[in-house]
């Protein structure tokens, strides 16, 4: 036991905060956060990835390489229902081929089992007690909930702030404080404080603003860089954005249970179509029923579960007369192209709204 562990993990949105908190509280080891995702990260990842693998793989690999260059020696990867479950083995092989030396922890499992991870973490930190582990687990469970609630509010209102950058500044402060917490008590006080501050930010939100729902693959939904900052672009145009999927939804929400989402997706789906495809269908239907103005479906290029759900989304679009815009992101996607298409979509939604209004007045 002479080597000091430096733990690193790939980025996904702001979820480095709960992971960092968890690692800090349980492992008693240093955290080596990979630098924020930039074009360089993606280039590095793309260079060493298989050519038509989905884009989250490339981002993850880029993150790992940058972290390893910064001195990390323990890497963590999770796993899931689609190709994501096989990421870890291929990434480990690629990184070893590149000549790096590290320990690789693979938290692949079909279901979420905290006790299984306890054994794994105990390997790194033999002093870890089960009480401490479960407490930390509970802590980040709460922390993720607070983080997601905060982001949800921002997503709905950032388009209507009166002073530019108010929300961004507040969010940064919030993150800086959130990452330092050690006890549930701290979390509660932070939560109360920032909810109050959030409500105090001046906004000017009209009642009939355009409302757009975003559905799709989880990584590009949660990592803004990978979707060319799509949500921000929408906000700039004064659109309220609704997104159901976040980590608390995926890991802890009861609505995410297969049978529940399948029920929501009826009559369009009879079976689970893999990974989070059912969620995309179910949410699109819910959004359409709620009378949203449009839906944006985003996915990495070649994401099979999301491609599976696209014919069904098209049918929903037809049945409920709701426009759906499809994006697929890869390492070559240009931001300008995305912007142009969004602009056209926005114009179309505005015109549609106007037309519907006139129609209502006439009848």
């Amino acid at each position: 036991m002479s080597v000091e562990y430096k733990i690193s993990f790939p980025h996904m949105g702001n979820y480095y905060i709960p992971i960092a908190t968890f690692v800090k509280n349980t492992l008693n080891a240093k955290i080596c956060l990979p630098p924020k995702i930039t074009k360089k990260t993606l280039e590095l990842g793309t260079k060493h990835s298989p050519d038509f693998v989905c884009v989250p793989f490339k981002y993850n690999l880029g993150n790992y390489i940058e972290a390893l260059e910064n001195g990390a020696n323990v890497l963590i990867q999770a796993g899931g229902g689609c190709r994501f479950g096989y990421y870890s083995e291929v990434q480990e092989e690629i990184l070893r081929n590149l000549g790096y030396n590290f320990k690789f922890f693979n938290i692949t499992s079909r279901t979420f089992k905290p006790l299984l991870y306890y054994k794994m973490f105990k390997e790194i930190n033999p002093m870890l007690t089960i009480k401490n582990f479960l407490y930390s687990f509970y802590l980040i469970y709460k922390q993720i909930a607070v983080l997601d609630k905060f982001e949800d509010y921002i997503r709905e209102n950032i388009g209507f702030q009166i002073n530019d950058g108010d929300f961004k500044r507040l969010e940064k402060k919030f993150h800086d404080e959130l990452i330092t917490i050690e006890k549930i008590k701290d979390l509660k006080s932070i939560s109360i404080k920032y909810t109050k501050l959030l409500k105090e930010v001046p906004i000017n939100k009209p009642n009939d603003c355009l409302r757009v729902g975003i559905v799709g693959e989880i990584y590009v939904l949660m990592e803004p860089f990978s979707s060319c900052f799509l949500e921000e672009e929408l906000a700039k145009k004064g659109i309220e954005v609704k997104r159901y999927i976040n980590i608390s939804y995926l890991l802890f929400s009861k609505e995410h249970k297969k049978t529940n989402t399948l029920k929501l997706a009826k009559p369009y789906l009879q079976y689970n179509i893999g990974a989070d495809g059912v969620d995309s269908v179910a949410h699109s239907k819910v959004l359409a029923k709620k009378g949203f103005d449009g839906i944006i479906h985003i996915k990495p290029f070649g994401c099979t579960p999301e491609i599976n759900c696209m014919p069904i989304l098209e049918k929903i679009s037809e049945d409920y007369k709701i426009p759906i815009l499809y994006f697929s992101f890869d390492s070559q996607t240009s931001e300008t192209g995305v912007k142009t298409r969004l602009e056209a979509f926005h114009d179309m939604l505005l015109m549609r709204k106007e037309k519907n209004k006139k129609w209502k007045e006439l009848t």
Partner: protein, 310 residues
């Protein structure tokens, strides 16, 4: 009075090549007329492209083309859902969704299906019984049909494995193992040109999917421990089983196959000492390009063999 026989259409694509005997025998035993769509041609492909999302894999597009061909020609189209064979493995998510995709794309066809998803407690036998009963037959007949079909299928698989192993032992020709899903290698448009050209070059073509399935899956753990796509395990294992006896490996994949994108890359990194080539086929493929690559690959193997002999 004899009633008209029910016409069941089976698209010649995806899992048809794996379960040909099972499916055909089952429906025939139940007294149905089985119509299989003809070999893939350019028209199938164009129709398939028309009815698919652009980013679907080529194999799935071709499948949609076959489904389209069967429209209006049969009473039912058979589109099963095969998701997992045990708790530890699964198939590609494309197969999870095939019945739903077909139903949502084509409004005017009725589909027949069974659901095989052992991870969620849906066994093949129960699926077939349900399927048979939906055709209005008595249960004894259905059970009998399933047993007979299953037996024939297994028999056929064993025979294929045996034949291939005999060839491996006997022949002196250069042997190249093709690692590809059965729906790619046996397809007239995707794999057939490759097979055909190799045979013209006097090569003995060995098929990875003909290896014994159980042995293959066990052997595949030597290459990859955490692999959970069962069809990939089956064809990867063949590399491990046959590696002493073959002269080269060709990976044949359609663009953009999800599982293959990762698995093939891992194999290329891990397999040493055997020449291998990686052929990726998409809908715009020209044959000349493939021929050149195959020819040069065969040249390399021949030269290597000569050198090893000397």
């Amino acid at each position: 009075m004899m009633k008209d026989k029910i016409k069941v259409g089976i698209p010649r694509g995806l899992l048809y090549f794996k379960h040909e005997v099972l499916w055909k025998t089952f429906f025939e035993e139940l007294g149905c007329n089985v119509v299989v769509s003809p070999e893939t041609n350019k028209e199938n492909l164009n129709k398939g492209i028309h009815y698919s999302i652009d980013e679907s894999c080529l194999s799935a597009k071709i499948y949609m083309g076959h489904v389209d061909w069967l429209r209006n020609k049969v009473d039912y189209v058979f589109v099963p859902r095969i998701a997992s064979y045990s708790k530890q493995n699964q198939t590609c998510t494309k197969f999870f969704a095939m019945p739903d995709i077909v139903e949502n794309t084509f409004k005017d066809i009725k589909i027949l299906k069974y659901n095989l998803d052992i991870a969620n407690g849906k066994t093949e036998r129960a699926g077939f019984i349900k399927l048979g009963l939906s055709l209005n037959k008595n249960i004894v007949k259905v059970l009998f049909a399933y047993r007979k079909a299953k037996y024939k299928q297994l028999e056929n698989e064993r025979k294929q494995t045996k034949e291939q192993e005999d060839i491996l032992e006997k022949t002196d020709k250069i042997k190249i193992l093709i690692v590809a899903h059965s729906y790619n290698i046996y397809d007239k448009l995707i794999g057939f040109p490759v097979q055909d050209y190799l045979k013209k070059l006097n090569i003995e073509v060995i098929y990875a999917d003909k290896a014994s399935k159980d042995e293959s899956i066990r052997a595949s753990y030597k290459i990859s421990k955490s692999l959970y796509w069962i069809y990939n395990q089956e064809i990867l294992g063949a590399i491990e089983l046959y590696k002493e006896k073959i002269d080269g490996i060709i990976f044949l994949t359609t663009f953009p196959c999800g599982p293959d994108s990762l698995v093939n890359d891992l194999c290329i990194r891990k397999i040493k000492n055997i020449p291998l080539s990686y052929i990726l086929i998409d809908e715009l493929q020209g044959e000349a390009g493939i021929h050149t690559r195959l020819e040069s690959f065969v040249d390399i193997i021949t030269a290597r063999r000569l050198r090893l002999c000397l």
